[in-house]
Symmetry: C2
Amino acid sequence: MKPLHQKIRDDIEGQIRSGALKPGDRIPFEHELMAHYGVSRMTVNKALTPLDEAGLIERRKRAGSFVRLPRLDSTVLDIPDIQHEITARGEAYHFELLSYTIRTASTDEERELAGSGQVISLTGLHFASAKPLAFERRLINLEAVPDAETIDFTRQSPGHWLLGAVPWTHVENQISAAVAEGQIARHLRLDAGAPCLVVDRRTWRDKARVTTVRQVFDGAAYRLIARFDHG
Amino acid sequence: MKPLHQKIRDDIEGQIRSGALKPGDRIPFEHELMAHYGVSRMTVNKALTPLDEAGLIERRKRAGSFVRLPRLDSTVLDIPDIQHEITARGEAYHFELLSYTIRTASTDEERELAGSGQVISLTGLHFASAKPLAFERRLINLEAVPDAETIDFTRQSPGHWLLGAVPWTHVENQISAAVAEGQIARHLRLDAGAPCLVVDRRTWRDKARVTTVRQVFDGAAYRLIARFDHG
DNA sequence: GCAACGAATATGTCTATACATAACGGAATA
DNA sequence: TATTCCGTTATGTATAGACATATTCGTTGC
């Protein structure tokens, strides 16, 4: 049997989503819901508090609780690591390391990442069923992730390892479009001028920058999918 | 003063994120936390339940509560409507309607959206500070949104109106890259072959399809930003 | 008319208590 | 030995009562 507070919450949420309760409408007072459902105020409160935290309603002392305007922002985008994505759809995955160096941060980009500490700089290719899907250029801050130096990235993709090994706290993705050219076009076996999807991702652990990566995807073979339920 | 349950919750969350408590570790029993903080069990429970719902910990009867493995999936992507985004960064926004027809669903795409009912089919341009930023082709299911017929989309963008007027329950976005060509290139004032970011978005209200839209962005002028905190 | 004050009201938090539920472990039994 | 049963334990849900806090409304005093 479903808990009482959840039934109440589902009821109200249903009324909001169905349009029976519109933005700005007042939902019944706690004491009215107590009487309606025959439960205690704690139980009603436990039903309403999550609706408030989810941004579905707004609660004002002395005034009551009101249906909020739907949020305009934020949908949930699945960006698992590439390896996960490829194996999940049943294709064979492998990573090919193209270059690997450890050095003291020297370029502006590296210094932004690691201050004046050591970084790993690498490039590589992600393959789905022996077909190159994405080119990756990555910097890893060795001060934030000293273990990274001991890992053999010719066997596993750095993104996959980092995801499991480092407890990140903040990620920022920028998605853009570009045309294939030069070395990257050749590696992805694309004609110059072919459209590519570019994901730039920066990852933090608390205040420390962990890694920065640019992944260039074959625009014809890859699309990002984002799904979002109720809002 | 911060509520007690929130302080406890923040404490434990901090220990998990800092690494003091690692995945698999048991966090203290409720009765231990009661003694430690000098509060009642209800208060401890109120602190732990949200951590469970957020997927940060796992609770097992008779066994205790344990730190979970960090989630691999899902990050939060801001996709507000274009109008919101442009005005938020201080630029002037306007929408220009290029074509507008109401007809019975005829193409496969339209029938998938609206069965054999009526649809609005329109195309238009989104401008940021008088510069064309995105081309949009949209279908609106009039069975799901009969009001749409009464709205003047020469003045406001259909996406903006729909967002406020229709309580959607599910959205699916596909993000891909393409090259500019033909009519769209001309409207966006791009050379043929310039990279474009393409967002295909389908929106549902319960089981009913509400609208389908393809937005083509100037790849040089636009990028999607996704941010995500803690995982 | 207007500002200040206090009562009324709805939500916010917390306690102490109770019983339910799931899972494990060990004892009793076949 | 294997199986069933039961007690222990930790969490899950719910109650009634209490006090805190924010906000509104009406009244009072100027």
